[in-house]
Amino acid sequence: MSTLTPVVEGAYVYDTKLSNQGRNLNRMCFSLKDAENREKFQADEVAYCNAYNLTEEQKQAVLDRDWISMIEKGGASIFYIIKLAAIDRKSMQDLGGIFTGMTTDEFVAELRAGGRKFG
């Protein structure tokens, strides 16, 4: 993250530096907007990752569906990796549970109770 980017605890403030870091991973995820590419990805995830020159760490995070690592180590943006989640039929609420250490049901319940409060 750039020194110019505001620091907000508990939030990723996505910026140019992160975008450069996550470039190949984001580009791979962006390609999954095409149905053909989704099929190719599902047929051979490793080959698909390699074709986008992911780092070993990025590739492992994708194969493990380690959403936190994709973001924190891989530099991915949530709007790109949600396309990978879509392939697994995972929703943004499933990911919300993972980011916050809850089950999906717990996360959904917190939202229905008015959402999570901070500060």
């Binding site: 505001p6 996505y14 879509a86 943004m92």
Partner: protein, 292 residues
């Protein structure tokens, strides 16, 4: 000359579109939100625009990461519905208005707004969900042409809230200087508070939202003075989308009337709201009719 008849602020959460597409609007989870839309939808159905300017952000569905424009405007004859990973929503593709696009582009650039022209654009939920909020059952075609206007809200530095309000004011002037007699509606979309990733995922800040929902009518300058960092801190990493409402608000002018609003938590991970404002142009016409 063209006139702006109303402005609609609305969340554009994808699941709102999905609820409509899969007939879930009467489900216990969704009914309160859609009930809240009722009065606004009824009023808008009585006041149909020829063209809607939909201010929204793409969510990595059409614009890649290679080029991140601060402000862009569609200059195509039509815009197809994007495939966001599940196949495209089964709503109509969008008919553009190339003449109006070009008029807006030239006038905004003349006023010193450094627009990006988009000759090709697939529109994602940011654009189609607000259209569904306006027109739940479009049939084969949306009831108006659409000019999409896109804002970078995903990657720092986003435009400042103040710059968004200024763009809206220039957009209003540009629309009102368009020589054809058309009625225009302006949509400001996104928000309200939400954060999708990180430890604060699931954040909702009703106090911030309620203040925004009031001040967007009465004191947009106070919202324009809020920094990007504070939007993210208060309303979440993605709650900053609300700055797009200020573009709509700037276009409407000073003399507006609130027709309806609604606020509901949650729409999946998000606080959802709608606020509908009639402009002076419509109020004057309604007064004329009343006087007859």
């Amino acid at each position: 000359m063209a006139e702006i008849i109303w402005g609609l602020a609305t969340s554009h959460v994808p699941s709102i579109g999905a609820a409509m597409d899969h007939n879930k609007t009467e489900d216990e989870y969704w009914k309160p939100l859609f009930d809240g839309y009722g009065p606004a939808r009824a009023w808008m159905a009585e006041h149909k625009p020829d063209v809607a300017i939909v201010v929204y952000n793409d969510h990595a569905n059409a614009l890649g990461l290679e080029m991140i424009p601060t402000f862009s405007i569609g200059t195509a004859e039509r815009y197809n519905v994007a495939d966001e990973g599940y196949g495209p929503r089964s709503v109509p593709n969008i008919e553009g208005d190339l003449d109006l696009s070009e008029h807006l582009l030239v006038n905004l650039v003349d006023e010193g707004f450094d627009m990006t022209a988009l000759q090709e654009l697939d529109v994602d939920h940011g654009c189609t969900v607000p259209l569904s909020v306006y027109t739940p059952d479009p049939g084969d075609a949306w009831p108006c042409r659409v000019v999409p206007m896109l804002v970078n809200v995903l990657q720092y530095p986003q435009p400042t809230a103040a710059r968004c309000l200024a763009l809206g004011e220039a957009l209003g002037r540009a629309i009102r200087s368009y020589p054809k007699d058309i009625k225009v509606a302006v949509f400001g979309t996104g928000g309200m508070s939400h954060q999708l990733s990180g430890e604060r995922a699931g954040l909702i800040n009703e106090e911030f939202d309620r203040n925004f929902l009031e001040k967007i009518e009465t004191d947009p300058q106070s919202l324009a003075a809020i920094s990007r960092g504070e939007y993210i801190e208060q309303a979440g990493s993605e709650g900053i989308e609300m700055i797009m409402w200020l573009i709509m608000r700037g276009a409407l002018g000073d003399d507006i009337t609130r027709i309806h609003d609604t606020y509901h938590v949650p729409a999946s991970n998000t606080a959802a709201a709608l606020a509908l404002f009639a402009t002076e142009a419509v109020n004057a016409k309604n007064n004329e009719l009343a006087a007859v």
